[in-house]
Amino acid sequence: MKFVPSWLNRLASPQHFFIDIKPWIMWLYVLGTIGLLVGSVWGLAFVPPERYQGDSFRILYVHAPIAHLAQLIYISIAIAGVVHLVWKLKMADVYMSAAAPVGCWLTALALVSGMIWGMPTWGTAWVWDARIVSTLILFFLYFGLIVLRRVIPNPARAATALSILAIVGAINVPIIKFSVEWFNTLHQPASIELFGDVSIDRVFLVPLFINIASISVLSAGIILAYMRYLVVERNASMTWIQEWSRGKNQ
């Protein structure tokens, strides 16, 4: 059964995860921060102004990566939910608990940066447009996950409940995509498609992709650090944790 590489198999155990992942977090932080600085400075200072929106379009380099990641993290939580329900991996549950708050914050930031962008371009901060409303709903979905985790005292039950809610909620995420076509509204249609013509010039795209990549790396670092914290919290009674903390204190 060589389905899973052995290093990945190793990470599924809380103990090995806790020890193996430690050196990676610092690298993810460093890489993410440098990338974010490069991408943002490039996007904010060196890219030519856009034809219609002038300089105000530059918030794209903050808004789009965040909004992208906010959706991506929700889908990843739903996948972790499936993994939890099928294989009962402990780390899947830890991932869901750690990623939900991060996703919630990113969604809130996406909404706020969208509002700031809306003021000069649309003349209003908030429009009850389909895509904005879908993002707002995504925020509520994240909020629901965090609250559900808190109100269920039994950890095993909380994990299963969280997986189910995340999977059901993931049905909502495609609506964010489709709603752009369903309702013809103020919002400009998505300009980047994975397969097909890109409607932005390449000059604008390079810093955007740098920012998308580096904010993903940075968030991965934050989520992993939070996961380590949760592992300590949940395994506090285990001998390996106690040995680790004793070794740390010496």
Binding site: I137, F140, L141, F143, G144, V147, L148, V151, I152, N154, A156, R157, T160, A161, I164, L165, V168, G169, I171, N172, I175, S179, W182
Partner: protein
């Protein structure tokens, strides 16, 4: 055979609780009435507003009535016994949901278009509203039951339930309302209607299978 026995039991319990079983219907009328009174000319003048208000009130009524869906059975141990029979749990739960839909979904499916007609909705628009409610309310019951089952026995309900359920209702709501709006505007609504059916078939086939394990989990802990 077992189905009818369960179904009869559920309905009997519901009706013998007396005036309590009318709460969802009265709530529905009260909320729609409040909207109608405060929005007055907007409400009666624009059929689209009317249809949307009736649809949204349906969602709120559903959340309100879901709170007690598993409460009684959990309190008196019926749920614990049902969970013990692995093959019986799905039948029990499906029967329970059909009974619940019969006392909340069907009255609203009839009341919604009636209120619409009284407020000046055209008859074919009212029929379309009734039809979307008919295929939308089972989806609403199913999704709501799943989230309610996650919270069985926690002693939490009310606003927590609302916060968890309402975002999940959005697709059903959007498609239901779009069909009615497009019909009122004499536009083509086929794809939206097909989406309504997709949500209906998806939720009524998948969720009953998930409910058994979820309820079992709630009894284990």
């Amino acid at each position: 055979m077992r189905f009818w026995a369960f179904y009869r039991r559920e309905l009997l319990i519901e009706f013998r609780s007396g005036v309590e079983s009318f709460i969802p219907v009265v709530f529905f009328l009260l909320v729609v009435g409040t909207f109608a009174f405060t929005l007055h000319s907007v409400f009666t003048g624009d059929s689209r507003v009317l249809v949307s208000v009736i649809w949204i009130t349906t969602l709120f009524t559903s959340v309100l009535s879901l709170d007690k869906l598993f409460k009684r059975d959990h309190a008196d141990g019926t749920l614990a016994v049902a969970v013990l029979h692995r093959d019986a749990i799905t039948t029990t739960v499906v029967t329970k949901l059909i009974a619940h839909w019969s006392v909340t979904g069907i009255p609203i499916t009839i009341l919604g278009p009636t209120v619409g007609l009284l407020s000046g909705l055209q008859i074919d628009h009212a029929l379309m509203l009734g039809f979307t409610l008919l295929i939308g309310t089972p989806t609403i019951t199913m999704l709501g039951a799943l989230v309610t089952a996650l919270l069985v026995g926690l002693g939490r309900g009310g606003e927590l339930l609302t916060v968890l359920i309402l975002p999940l209702y959005i697709p059903t709501l959007l498609f239901g309302i779009s069909v009615c709006h497009l019909h009122i505007e004499s536009a083509s609504y086929t794809s939206e209607l097909l989406w309504c059916f997709a949500l209906l078939t998806g939720s009524t086939t998948a969720i009953p299978l998930a409910l058994g394990p979820v309820l079992k989990m709630s009894q284990d802990s």
